[in-house]
Structure formats: C-alpha cells, structure tokens
Symmetry: C2
Subunit: 360 residues, 2 copies
Amino acid sequence: MKANVTKKTLSEGLGLLERVIPSRSSNPLLTALKVEASEAGLTLSGTNLEIDLSCFVPAEVRNPQNFVVPAHLFAQIVRNLGGELVELEITGNELAVRSGGSDFKLQTGDLGAYPPLSFPTHADVSLNAEELARSFSSVRYAASNEAFQAVFRGIKLEHRPEGARVVASDGYRVAIRDFPADGNGRNLIIPARSVDELIRVLKDGEARFTYGDGLLSVTTDRVRMNLKLLDGDFPDYERVIPKDIKLQVTLPATALKDAVNRVAVLADKNANNRVEFLVSEGKLRLAAEGDYGRAQDTLDVTQGGIEPAMSLAFNARHVLDALGPIEGEAELLFSGSTSPAIFRASGGGGYMAVMVTLRV
Amino acid sequence: MKANVTKKTLSEGLGLLERVIPSRSSNPLLTALKVEASEAGLTLSGTNLEIDLSCFVPAEVRNPQNFVVPAHLFAQIVRNLGGELVELEITGNELAVRSGGSDFKLQTGDLGAYPPLSFPTHADVSLNAEELARSFSSVRYAASNEAFQAVFRGIKLEHRPEGARVVASDGYRVAIRDFPADGNGRNLIIPARSVDELIRVLKDGEARFTYGDGLLSVTTDRVRMNLKLLDGDFPDYERVIPKDIKLQVTLPATALKDAVNRVAVLADKNANNRVEFLVSEGKLRLAAEGDYGRAQDTLDVTQGGIEPAMSLAFNARHVLDALGPIEGEAELLFSGSTSPAIFRASGGGGYMAVMVTLRV
C-alpha cells in the first residue's frame, strides 16, 4: 500500500483518536490505531472499551491495505513532520512515514488480533450537532466525579414533547438545558467522560443517533462513535425545581462572578466555601468569613417579587459553576432562605441551574 | 494608617513577593508579608530564608504604620478587586482593603515576631540588569536539579578581564554566556532557584551588587534582594571545552530543533534518548531507533573543517536544551566522535553549549 495525504487532515483525525485511545493499557492492543484503507482514503479507528471512535481521512491510496500501528507514536510523528504532504507505505510489517527529509519506519501490529469495531449504517433520530454540543457543555460541570454516585456520573438526555433536554446533577445541584429537537428519541444516560469526547467531535451539521443494546451510536459527517450507556434510573430532579418564586434579582453575570470570586478568597474552605447572599432595597450584598478575616461586596441589582428582602447562603464554588454558562444578564430566583434557588440567563436560552442553599 | 494606592502597582509588587514568600510553612511567620509605610509609599518585603525580597510601591499614606498580613491572601484579594484604586486602613489588628463595592477585613499578624530583614545601602559593583537576566536565562537549563550535586545546583558568575561570564553544568554538559561588564566583582555561585527569581525581577537599568558574608545583595530601581550563596568550588569546566575542531557545520537552529524533535519520538528513552548525527557531503543525517521503529531525517548544512565526515551520538534532550538560546543560524563544532562538541550561535552573542557525546 502507498498513500498520499495532507499532514493537516491526517493530524486532525489522529488528534481525535489520540484522546480516546489509551497511551498505556494492560492490553497493549488497545493502544493501537486501526487503519482501513480504500481508494478514497483512510478510516482511522480506535477504542477504550467505553467509546469506539472512527474517523475518515481523504487520501490518495494505491493497493489499499489495512494495518494497525501504535496510535500515540504515529500521531506524534505526523504532528512533528516538516512537510505539508505525507507519504505512507506498507512494506512487510513496517509502515514508512515520509515527508520532506524525514523517513520513519514504524512497526505494525497484529491486525488479526485487533478487536472488531462495528458502526451502524442507519439512523434512528437526528439532532443538531452544535446545539447538542453546547447543551452538553453547559451542564457538564454538575455531573459527579465520585465513583459511588452511579447515575450521577452520567448526563441524562431526554426527549420531550417540546424538544430535547440534557440534565446533570450531583445531588446538591441540577443543571438543565433545553434545546429544540424533532423526533421521538429514547431517554438515556451517557457517562460524563464520554460526553466530553462527544462535545469534542460534534461541530456543525447533524448528529445522527442509532440506539443499540446499552449503546448509543453517534454519526456525524466526520466521525462515527459508539458510546456505552449508564444503566439505572436518574432521580426525579423536577421535584427540586422551585415553583413558588418569592424574590428575584437581575444583574450582569460577570459582575456577580467577579464579586463571588473576590469574597470567596476569605470563605471557609472547611465550611463549603460558604458565601452569604443578602438581598434588600435593590442591592445584593455578598459576605464571607473565615480564619483570616471577613469579606463583603455590594452590587446593584434589579429586584422583584413579593418578598422585600431575603438572606441565603451558597457554596461559592457552586455559584461560580452555575454562572459559567450564563452570558449577559443573570436572573436569580429565590423561593426562600432554605429552599433551592434557580440561576438562569435573563434572556432565556434554555439553561437553568438549581442549587440547594446552605443552612443559615 | 490610611493609604491610597493603584491596584496595578500594588498587584505588581505583591506578584513579585508572592513568588518568594512560601504559601505554607512550618513557621507560619514566614508566610506573612511585611509592609513598612512611609509618607511616600509602602515597602513590601518577605523571605523564604534563601531569598529576602523587598519592593517599593508608591502610595499616598497618612499616619504611616508598619504591619504584617498573610501574603498570599492579601495578594489574591488585591488581584480580584474590581476598582482601579485601593484604600488600605489599619484599625486595631485589622487591615481593611476597600475598592468599589468591596470591603475586606484581614487580620494582621505579630509585627514584633517577624524576622528582621536588612538590605545594604552601598553598592560594590554594578551590572546591566537586562544583560545579566538574559545571560542567566540562557544557561539556566544546564544546572542540575539533583540534590547530591552540590555546586552543580548553582550558577557560577565570573568576573574576567574581558567582561563577565555565567556558567552552569550538571557534569554532562556546560552552558556558558559571556557578556560585557566593567569593574572587578567577586566570583560566586548562586543557587539556580534563586537565579530564577533574580531573572524575574531584573528588567532594565542597573543591577547593583553588594557582597556580604556568604550573601549577595542585588538592588535595582524596583527591588532589593539578598541571596544566600552556595559554598564550594565549581569544577574546572574550561578543561572540557574542545580546542581542536575537526569538522564544523552551520544550519538554521529551528530546522535542527524541529528535526531532533521529530526523530526523538522513536529514540530509546532507556538509552539516553540517543540520536545519531552523521555529517558528510554537506548533509547532516539524524537517526534514532527504539522498540517501535527507526527514524531518519536529512538536513542540508554548510560544512567546514579538515575532516570530510564524522559520526557522533547525543542525548536528544540535551541537544534541544543546548539549541534553546540560539536564534538564527547554529554552528556545531565537532572535535571527534568521542570528544565533547560545541553548539553556539554562528552570529556570536557570547553563548556556548558544550556537550559530551554518547558512546558509539
């Protein structure tokens, strides 16, 4: 086999695969990249057993031949090449990689031993890739990293009459984003780490979903992916969303982020980074206190609702996370000092963070 | 005391101190910043017992008073403030830090218990700060990080008839930079870690040296520093510099860096990242070999000297380090396959790297 391919396209493809294929593994086969060549180009694929990923790279190929090579070494070599064009050639059990004055010989692996990866050819439902990526990105922070938290380590994707919704929670907060979607897809829970890779490969165009047994396959114009799903029931998070809003404030999200960042410096790390919010007379006063002193910051807000004043406390880290996806004006909806609060963009956009308050 | 100071100048001063003052220490006093106020401004100082650092910040001060505060918290608070102007006020044992809508109260520490720091007022010799910083930066990489290597963990500063010289070595390579200097200073060895801080504070203008007992004090327009010196004899590195050059090549430094980076991907990590250099007929061929394959790269060079060809081997990591400070054309001077080589900028500039070759 002899193939000519541009360094840029090959590097981009390898870059995606590199994130999925482990650089070390007790099963060395998993560290390999599988290359399937056709007259039209090269299909690169790899797996970490949670995610299978495959990506097509257009190339000029003569005498197509399949092979496996160490993924990370191959990617590193290609990335460092000086020329714009790369020539690949298989001779015996060696892959030659040539460009400019460079000539690399990389030993190929055992093609027969590589685990078979198969990707579906039909689609069950189709979503807008950009919307899906943005929605996943907005709620990702709220998913749990704790091994014992089972389904909380995943992000739920719901199909609802009015569109689709992604939801993440760690039991203390819930992040939700609604986005437009057609079709009647299944509800499922995708591991947050797989969502990270999904976000990375979803750019524009369509994300076509195919449902398998405990498996979701996602196909875009560039890549094909199989994702193992999480089993189990996602808790009834809607119960936590406060309905009865007693006080609400609007202010620029950046001003609030900056102020929380400031007062959090003195917040007590051993008491949930507690920051107090005191609203009254068109002002939001933030206060924190720790071993080294006290901090206070006062912001002008637009205030509404039936209660004239309210005092609540939050984990500063959670407040900053919740504000992350909000640009422009933020709207904080309070239902009481000891009940959950809602943070969302005042201009809409489908994103909402629900947070428990800390005890007063 | 009440002081008004711009956030920018105060932040810059605190930024320098933050690098020296430890954020944790078995002696909590050392994590504090000492502030000495006068009508003209605030002198911030701190120490890690290896380096004492002091820096003046112009400010409008009423009822000047000295105090100590937790250095890193104070720096973080100031950095996060929203306004351009900062008001500081001491009331009892609290420092108030105010700006815009922010009001912080930071507990001050025990001023009497803080170790006395003294800086000299006269100068023994004066060097160009920029030249000194650039020279230290060029050779820093060659200093050893191994605890057992005593003086190799320092950088030697020599005063020579024709100027000054800095030298660093770890026993396998020597990095040297000569630079213009007047005056008859002492030869001394500064710990590499203290050199890092020195590089950071030296900008332009003069660096005035004052010699103490096992101590060097450096004063610039912005800062004053005391540095503990390393005791011991720096080995006779000049013995290693090859005099009898048999073959020499010139090529763009960047092309060589890129090519070494490329072939090093396949070099054997357990064999000193060995890369072979083969020079003949106006070509430099680089080759490396490891468990996964072989790499080869050919570069055009301008070749000179009495030998028509030579083959040598180097540690790729060391080659890249040695080329680091070289811009434009690099000149490689070879005295034989098994004797040290010199890498330097072909346009001069006073920098030179001397490297041992690996066994063939």
